[in-house]
Symmetry: C2
Subunit: 264 residues, 2 copies
């Protein structure tokens, strides 16, 4: 019995313990080379892309399910997950995904779903709750699960067409990320332990989608008192070397709790 079949059998057996009509999807943001990225899974069977998502056990809280699903599908554990919106249209498939009975059956076969029990489950209507997370790409090593051939970080511009309404979910996640910027531990979660002021500024610029004035950004951030200055960083470039900074975690946590009170 190959891996896929084994997985299918295990999933089929677990269906009785799942709460019907509900699911979770995770938008995992990472930051690398001054670019904001999102973690996507590609299906083994038909190479389509999707967000890491899954179902809820009958005896499991929605929030716990989000953490478990993310761990099972990517290996990422103990990360900050933030619920942001619940997507509940009758037909959450994209308009171009024909929803006739035959088309749906054919699509399930594309995904390698042959078991009638699983097919019946997958044909249900699911109301899905979106969570977003912020992770430091360097510190994590996501691994695709059985169903997925790969697990890739894509910049926002690179995001391909995703299954169902997952593109919409990503867009909404970015919107909430922006609105909640002052209340989220953006820097601590997304940056390496030590980073330059430019790293931090580019991160904010990536999230806000607009440029910020360098010297004013530096002054305002430093005035918050949440950064500790470390040694200089010799990049090898022909210009003045920037200092590295690290977060004063206690102060940062407090500031985030109250909301960082300025406009970038």
């Amino acid at each position: 019995m190959d891996h896929t079949k084994k997985f299918a059998q295990e999933f089929e057996e677990s269906i009785d313990r799942l709460l019907p009509n509900n699911s979770v999807d995770c938008v995992i943001f990472g930051y690398e080379k001054q670019r904001l990225k999102v973690l996507l899974l590609q299906w083994k069977t038909n190479a389509e892309w999707s967000l890491p998502g899954g179902f809820i056990f009958k005896d499991e809280a929605l929030n716990s399910a989000a953490h478990r699903v993310l761990r099972e599908r990517t290996g990422l554990d103990e990360i900050f997950l933030n619920q942001f919106y619940t997507f509940g249209r009758q037909n959450r498939a994209r308009p171009d995904q024909n929803a006739t009975e035959e088309a749906t059956d054919k699509r399930l076969l594309d995904f390698g779903i042959t078991s009638p029990v699983i097919a019946e489950w997958m044909k249900k209507r699911f109301v899905t709750t979106g969570y977003f997370a912020l992770v430091n790409i360097a510190k994590t090593n996501p691994q695709p699960d059985f169903m997925s051939s790969s697990c890739e970080w894509k910049t926002i511009a690179e995001i391909p067409q995703l299954i169902l309404d997952h593109n919409e979910i990503v867009e909404k996640a970015i919107g909430y990320l922006r609105i909640q910027l002052n209340y989220l531990p953006i820097g601590l979660s997304l940056l390496p332990e030590k980073f330059t002021m430019q790293d931090l500024q580019k991160l904010y610029e990536a999230i806000l989608g607009r440029p910020l004035e360098r010297s004013n950004f530096q002054r305002k951030i430093l005035k918050l008192g949440m950064l500790v200055r470390k040694e200089k960083f010799m990049s090898g470039a022909a210009n003045k070397a920037p200092y590295l900074y690290a977060f004063d975690q206690a102060k940062y946590a407090q500031l985030i709790k109250e909301g960082i009170g300025f406009s970038y």
Copy 2:
């Protein structure tokens, strides 16, 4: 056949058309006599209080269900509803509501539920999505439905113990109302067409839960340019009569879209 039985029969017949395991609950904010209020329903059968909530039809979007449920249960229609959070603990009952089989059966009887089909439905686990709305109390006349003996506006301080986790839902709604203050048409939705500056200030104070400095509030609000000054308001009180104001709706809408950018 009395009303309650008729309703029970109708509900029983509709269960097949409902999406299991999902529900919506609405936190309707109103403003009256300079007090922020919430609309609550009281059950005919056992006098317990709850938020107006209900279920989703299989062919209905989650957001549409929220509008329909609100209309059916209170008569309120075409109001601005804003999704804010999805509550998904395994057991959403309050800790003091004993969850043993017998206790649950007894509780359902308290609510007048005798049909086994309805009882089975009500025993399911429901993940509920919370919506909040802002309405002008003077313009609306909510009416309780079959199941409810009354439909009352309660100030935040007056809110009694509610069923399930509804007290938690109200608290979370107020939290989101505060955070999203600058992005919501608070004034236009909650105030009458013409209002005094004090009305507006007290509204913001009620939402924020803290006093604001009168003259500075007036200066900042007027500077936004979203108010049109009307005639004076002769209240009969022994003091200088205040001006009435109305919203410049186009400008207000634009400001709300971008987010009103100042701290109160």
